[in-house]
Amino acid sequence: MTTVITAARVDCPDGRVAATVDLVEVGGGSQTVTVDGVPEERVHPGSTVYHVRFISPDRMMPDELREAATYGDAIALGEAYAARLAEHAERIASLATDLRV
């Protein structure tokens, strides 16, 4: 028996969603090609990839989609992004505090 993790979510320390992870299958479809005037069905190879979606902090900016070969790599990417988001949130909070008159 094999258990495959197909989806996950990485949250920031404050609870905001930082990234989502989804297992996506790629390829496996077919293409009709004509060889010497005869149509031939070619099946393309299939594979899987993890989509890591970095959720944009501003909805006017698009999310960023990164690919990872393994679940571990995908989670590492998501956690690195979550850490950066948290750092920026702290900087913005301290800037707002400094600007108060």
Binding site: D22, E25, G28, G29, T32, P45, H51, R59, D63
Partner: protein
């Protein structure tokens, strides 16, 4: 029904094509939905009459494409959740995904091109999922020409 969060399109502009490939692919992710309002295919390089077909498919696996970001109808609109990626939203497949359903298919003369413009009640809606792909595909090899193809959709993304 909820109000759409925006109108977007994905255009593949005047690319010489002569093989049976997926030309436009849109990944509608989880927590979003897309209502397809238009699709089109025409060309700008030949005047010789020729018949071909185009189809709007639902795929369960991704085509390998050239990443392209959807274009919003207004400047002040939020970015599309159908972000670009080689196994996400993009154009010109080099590897085909698995077709699980077909919403529209039509033959046309390449001199005239074709526009799919359904009445609102008949628009195809794709509710987002990890593998929710809409794909515009030439099922058979078209006559070689510089084709422009596009998909337009209303997005429901909160």
């Amino acid at each position: 029904m909820a109000a759409p969060s925006g109108l977007y399109n994905l255009i593949r502009s005047s690319v010489v094509t002569s093989t049976a490939i997926t030309v436009n692919q849109v990944l509608v992710p989880a927590a979003a939905a897309a209502e397809f309002t238009r699709a089109w295919c025409n060309q700008d390089s030949v005047t010789t009459t020729n018949q071909t077909r185009i189809q709007l498919n639902q795929n369960s696996t991704a085509c390998t494409v050239t990443s392209q970001t959807p274009f919003p109808a207004q400047k002040s609109m939020q970015a599309s959740k159908a972000v670009g990626g080689t196994s996400a939203t993009g154009i010109t497949a080099t590897g085909e995904g698995t077709v699980t359903g077909q919403w529209w298919q039509e033959g046309f003369n390449i001199v005239n091109g074709i526009l799919y413009l359904p009445v609102p009640e008949a628009r195809w809606m794709l509710v987002g999922q990890a593998a929710g792909f809409a794909a515009l595909k030439f099922p058979g090899a078209p006559a070689s020409a510089a084709y422009t193809t596009g998909i337009e959709w209303l997005e429901f993304a909160g």
